[in-house]
């Protein structure tokens, strides 16, 4: 996939009003989606996925290294403590985040309660919430993955 094609795709997204476009060609997948505030489209997720080499485990979420599976490696937010997972500050309040939300580093994602200490867990990266791995009110263990974040 060459640069000219990439530019063309960006233009299509800009002019068409669609929010996101994903193209796969010869094992290289490119997704282009608009920024949150209707600003210029951002290129995003350039995961080369040809030759399914028995590669070493991908260590960094953003690295363009060919992963062994055609799944993007997302950034995991893990629990720093053992406790009870809450998605909102109070039972009748809105959740801090939903799947699809854009978050910044320092955005609060959830609370984990232990011994009446309410631990606010912040994101350490900017990106989009792809998956919430724990149900509200469930116990979590130390280092248990809580969220998957697609880093920009």
């Amino acid at each position: 996939m060459d640069l000219a094609l990439l530019k063309k795709l960006v233009r299509i997204v800009e002019q068409s009003g669609v929010n996101e476009i994903e193209v796969e060609e010869e094992g290289l997948r490119v997704r282009i989606s608009r920024g949150q505030h209707g600003s210029a489209p951002l290129t995003h997720d350039m995961t080369a996925q040809h030759q399914a080499a028995p590669a070493a485990p991908a260590s960094s979420a953003a690295a363009p290294a060919p992963p062994a599976v055609p799944e993007k490696k997302y950034h995991e937010i893990k629990s720093p403590i053992v406790g009870t997972f809450y998605r909102a500050p109070a039972p009748d309040a809105d959740s801090y985040v939903e799947v699809g939300h854009e978050v910044q580093a320092k955005s609060v994602l959830c609370i984990i309660e232990a011994m009446k200490l309410m631990n606010e867990i912040e994101s350490d990266v900017a990106g989009r919430v792809v998956k919430i791995l724990v149900e509200n009110g469930q116990p979590v263990e130390y280092n248990q993955p809580l969220f998957l974040i697609d880093t920009v």
């Binding site: 720093p80 403590i81 053992v82 406790g83 009870t84 809450y86 500050p89 109070a90 039972p91 009748d92 309040a93 580093a105 320092k106 609060v108 309660e113 232990a114 011994m115 009446k116 200490l117 309410m118 631990n119 606010e120 867990i121 912040e122 994101s123 350490d124 009110g137 116990p139 130390y142």
Partner: protein
């Protein structure tokens, strides 16, 4: 330029050395959290005569008659592993309980993890908050409410709440109570920070009647019944149930 051999000493951390007092705010915890994010020093205390939205666990409120009681929060910046952070609420409850017992001679007791009761009535509630990013915790805010000179409680709260006034028969100087409490808290905090987790657990256990007692723990829709067997290294409650010993880390505890 060479390093000077005599370095001026930084002022020692003293709980309450910096105090921000408000007539009315939403919640001392919220203000303390904002101050912590702006870089407030450890030991900074935020007090309020009246809270518009005093906080309890899970969105519950803390009700207090204006100008009669103590409602305050303290900013901590502990150098503790995450496991030991859970002892901070127990530490705070122990400090309140010991202060009431030793300085005011009222028979207060700690209920896990950090409520302070006289008999079955609550005299003090504590709600702590911490902010974590990755493996870093930036600050812990411990919010403490103590009913001091309140002489009566609204209908519905009266059978569950009491005050120092009601249990000792006279009014007390709130500033003196705060000073005594902060001194005790700071001493316990020094112990915890210098490796004395076992001492904190022992001091808490000494002011709590629950070990060996049959308990019921409710957390949302889950209910556990068993016998309290002790405190886990992270402050969790060890409950022996028919299925074995489990560690409780959230929930409301009542004696059966």
């Amino acid at each position: 330029m060479t390093l000077r051999t005599t370095i001026p000493r930084l002022p020692p951390t003293t709980f309450g050395a910096i105090t921000r007092s408000f007539e009315t705010i939403d919640s001392t915890n919220s203000t303390a959290k904002e101050l912590a994010q702006e870089g407030a020093l450890e030991g900074t205390v935020v007090t309020a005569e009246d809270q518009r939205a005093g906080k309890g666990r899970l969105g519950r409120s803390w009700e207090s008659e204006k100008g009669k009681n103590l409602t305050f929060s303290i900013i901590l910046r502990p150098h503790l592993t995450h496991i030991l952070l859970g002892l901070l609420p127990l530490l705070a409850g122990t400090a309140v309980c010991e202060t009431l017992r030793e300085e005011y001679h009222v028979p207060s007791e700690c209920k896990w993890p950090n409520d302070v009761l006289i008999g079955t009535k609550k005299i003090s509630g504590i709600l702590s908050e911490a902010v974590h990013q990755g493996d870093m915790s930036s600050a812990v805010i411990v919010g403490i409410g103590i009913n001091v000179n309140q002489a009566s409680f609204p209908v519905g709260l009266g059978d569950r709440a009491t005050s120092l006034y009601l249990s000792s028969g006279r009014e007390h100087d709130r500033t003196l109570l705060l000073t005594r409490l902060l001194g005790r808290m700071e001493a316990l905090y020094e112990i915890l920070q210098s490796g004395g987790a076992d001492t904190i657990i022992a001091r808490w256990t000494a002011v709590s009647p629950i070990i060996g007692k049959p308990l019921r723990v409710t957390d949302g829709s889950t209910l556990h019944e068993g016998t309290a067997r002790g405190i886990a290294p992270d402050g969790g409650l060890l409950l022996e149930t028919s299925a074995g010993i489990m560690t409780i880390r959230a929930g409301d505890v009542t004696l059966r």
